[in-house]
């Protein structure tokens, strides 16, 4: 197991955003989190690399283990975030060159050697399936790229520090179908080497790219299982009502 979650509860001040979440997330699989807005899926994904630490009034109980190690124990948060990278809904390249966007993480972690950095930049861009599109404009601003290219650049940036896990919070919701298709193909390719956890509001996307799906409602995981099972024969009526669009 890559992640083991056991009875995770999370509060934002008085509001309980996660309730008794327990699940095992397998390595080299794509796990999709689905559910209506405000159901806790983004909160949970952010708990996995402690992005919620930055939010005032956030309190968490229970256990989250990464490769058997307690994420909320004595683990170095910077190293945790190196191991567990994140890609957000809106592409957010730094206002610098394509090259520097990718080299930023490795440099932060102490890599200064130009040849080494060149290799990391090329490999990361290759792995994010964008190398061919940017190899001749590495020194140009990343902000000049299209939305889809920017998002793949952000994936390359996350890959540049050799993470184990890639968290993706609605990574294609701002992209056109062609860019979305490229990211989806990429995710399926990435799972050979990484564990991917993706929040999505697109049911078809979840069915296309994920191995496991978790349905969240009001901070609880209502159903978690093989994606094929969830979308063909869900066990819980609330899950079925949600995925068939009859929720409420």
């Amino acid at each position: 197991m890559k992640f083991v979650l056991s009875e995770v509860n999370l509060w934002y001040n008085d509001f309980q955003a996660l309730q008794n979440v327990s699940m095992d997330i397998k390595a080299n699989e794509v796990t999709a989190f689905i559910g209506p807005s405000g159901c806790g899926k983004s909160t949970l994904i952010k708990s996995l690399n402690r992005m919620n630490d930055l939010i005032e009034g956030c309190k968490i109980t229970g256990f989250i283990q990464l490769d058997g190690e307690d994420v909320y124990g004595s683990m170095d948060v910077n190293l945790l975030r190196k191991r567990v990278g994140m890609v957000f809904q809106k592409p957010n390249p730094f206002p610098m060159s394509v090259y520097d966007n990718i080299a930023f993480g490795p440099r932060t972690h102490g890599i200064k050697n130009k040849r080494e950095l060149d290799e990391i930049v090329e490999k990361s861009l290759h792995d994010a399936a964008i190398w061919d599109e940017v190899k001749d404009r590495l020194k140009k601003s990343a902000l000049g790229l299209s939305g889809g290219q920017q998002q793949r650049l952000c994936i390359a940036r996350a890959l540049s520090v050799s993470p184990d896990v890639l968290l993706m919070d609605e990574p294609t919701s701002a992209l056109d179908p062609i860019s979305t298709g490229k990211i989806e193909d990429l995710v399926m390719e990435l799972k050979k080497n990484y564990t991917v956890i993706i929040v999505t509001h697109n049911m078809q996307q979840a069915t296309r790219i994920s191995d496991k799906t978790a349905f969240f409602l009001l901070g609880e995981v209502i159903e978690f299982g093989d994606t094929d099972q969830i979308f063909s024969m869900p066990r819980d009526k609330r899950c079925e009502d949600y995925i068939t669009g009859r929720f409420g």
């Binding site: 049911m203 069915t207 093989d226 063909s232 024969m233 869900p234 669009g245 009859r246 929720f247």
Partner: protein
């Protein structure tokens, strides 16, 4: 929520019921044609087959439209995919009723040398199976679907009886061969109608449970 989609699913149900009624009528006409030398009914059953084919195309188009536009999952996906499979069996039943009617037309004016008693029984039973399988689909009635599947054994038994009659007829007098074979063909068509009705009922079971008939409960996906 999704009221337009629900409306279209209800339209799909209505069309399946209508196609089921058309098939039932065809089976009855074919039976009347063969039992009572009724040429008019034979012609009607044959021409009616085109309407059944047309209905199949319309239901298929609706299903494909729903798959494209509504991108159904879970029970909706099972329902629409089951409907798509069911209409193929329903269309084949229409063909077989027409085939029976063709034989009936050929036999008109010829005196029957055999007692047809098992044919109306097969006709009645298979028509009922068709009606009940569609009924089970619309009402999501697992028990009724299972009854249809079980009823196929009775159709098969009747077919075996016909086979014995045919063997005896030919044995008694080889000159009976031609009509005996026609008789056998008619019984075979009814036996196939029973099989198609069983297929329909099996798709009903799938649309309700997500499992094909015979699949173990423990083989439940994901368990």
């Amino acid at each position: 929520m999704r009221s337009k989609f629900d409306e279209q699913l209800s339209q799909l149900n209505d069309m399946l019921v209508e196609m089921g009624a058309m098939i039932e009528k065809s089976i009855k006409r074919a039976t009347e044609a063969i039992v009572n030398h009724n040429k008019k009914m034979a012609k009607k059953a044959i021409s009616h087959d085109k309407d059944i084919d047309q209905m199949e195309k319309e239901i298929e188009a609706l299903c494909l439209r729903l798959l494209l536009k509504q991108q159904p999952v879970a029970r909706d996906l099972r329902l629409i995919s089951a409907a798509l499979k069911m209409i193929t069996d329903m269309e084949r039943i229409g063909d077989q009723a027409a085939d029976i009617s063709e034989i009936a037309k050929f036999l008109i004016g010829k005196e029957y040398i055999i007692n047809l008693e098992n044919i109306p029984k097969m006709a009645e039973l298979t028509a009922k199976m068709v009606t009940e399988s569609i009924d089970a689909f619309v009402k999501r009635d697992l028990e009724l679907a299972q009854k249809v599947i079980d009823d196929d054994d009775a159709v098969d038994e009747l077919f075996d009886k016909v086979k014995e009659d045919v063997i005896k007829l030919i044995h008694d007098n080889p000159d009976n061969g031609e009509q005996a074979i026609d008789y056998m063909m008619v019984a075979k068509y009814f036996e196939r109608i029973g099989d198609h009705a069983t297929n329909i009922a099996e798709w009903v079971v799938f649309s309700i449970t997500g499992r094909h008939v015979g699949e173990e409960i423990s083989a439940d996906i994901g368990s």
